[in-house]
Amino acid sequence: MELAAVVVVPSKEDLTAMEMGQTSHAAVSEDSQPLCSSRTPILGNDVLRSWMEPIRKLGVRSLWLTSRPRERSMAMDLAQFARQGVERFLMISLKSYAEMDLADLLRFHRDSQNSITEAKDARGNLGVSLLDRLAVPAVDPIYDSGVSPHSEQAPYEFGGYAKRILSAKERQELVGDALTGACAMRPSGARIREQVWIGEGASLADSARVVGPTYIGARTIVCAGATIGPFTSVERDCVVDCGTAVEQSTVLPDTYLAPGLLIRQALLDGRHLEDLRSGIVTDLQPLGLGCRTNQPPHKTSDESATEASSRHTSVGAAPFSARQPWLQVQL
């Protein structure tokens, strides 16, 4: 086997580290964890799936998925793959959505005779790299600090469409672009009219107003007098209560929003709201303004965290564990 594809889902610690690194403004957050993970759906789509087709086009039949704990050496795991005959690794850290021609990246890697080629755009590293077997020991520094010991090697300059999905702001830009056809991603649902998509089993009250471009996910309930849109994504299994308006925002799965609210330019996940203008994350639950749809009020925060983690990491297969940190996904 010449090429193996490895997709690294950033772990909780990685996400926190990334979020702290990205916070350039003087925002004070109540919770330093980013609200969305790599596996949180975007317009009903799993970003992992957006990488599957380009990988399949390279002739790779399966990919290896991992969420590596920080203390575990990825180099050691990759060395095992190398011993089984893998010559080269396509490493994708699931922190970006990029419409990248991976065959072109592979050609560049071969032509430039790099041992490591990292894909970058104008804003920096995209988390996509090609790694020759001999360069495997360099993989840990790349994933731990984002700094490659082979940084003198020519990077692959990517000029196509890319967004960092772990940044709430860029994620919202991706939602807007996908709703207006400015990128290849399309909402997962039925188009009921111009720039309005509805997922299976979603329910809209007669007096609810939907202003396109907007997406309403599967089984989401929009109550009387609520207004959704424009440039809004309410993901699956949410409830938007009576009279609440949601504009230029994303509501992540399983979120309940109380009646009469005005949500503008925000990312919401259960009880937490991130204001996209200021970066402030605030807790809506003490005010009775928002919570999880499936969370009884007596549940402890630890129980909720476990649920949130499993919700974001399930891949239609067994979730990651310390003993089973790699999953093979057929393409």
Partner: protein
Amino acid sequence: MAPGAIVKSGAATILPFACSSSSADWQSQRKKLLGILRFSTPPVILDLSRCTKLSHNDIGFFLDCLALATGRDTNILLVAGSQTNRVLLNVTRISSLVPVFDSVTEALADPMITKEIGFGDQRENVRQGGHE
């Protein structure tokens, strides 16, 4: 300055508001502030700078203040004091009912206040003119 202590600044009355730890504290502060609001000279600045975490009781209280102010034709201004408070005032639509500022200084510079100071000066001039 104790919560609810009234401060006069030019033509405005500033009411500091603090988050209360207990229901009894909160009820007592509410009563005090509504009492002050009922008899204070307009406009009134409700300063939330000392309130780090708003509760649903606080939001209800602001709505009571607004209802009272509207009934008396009193202008009320809010000082959010923090970005978190500002976000919550936006989400609950309170900021669409009253102007919200980041600081008391900013609120005092608002035309609503400066106009009131102007009216005050004019009233003073008329009174002085009448004596002459």
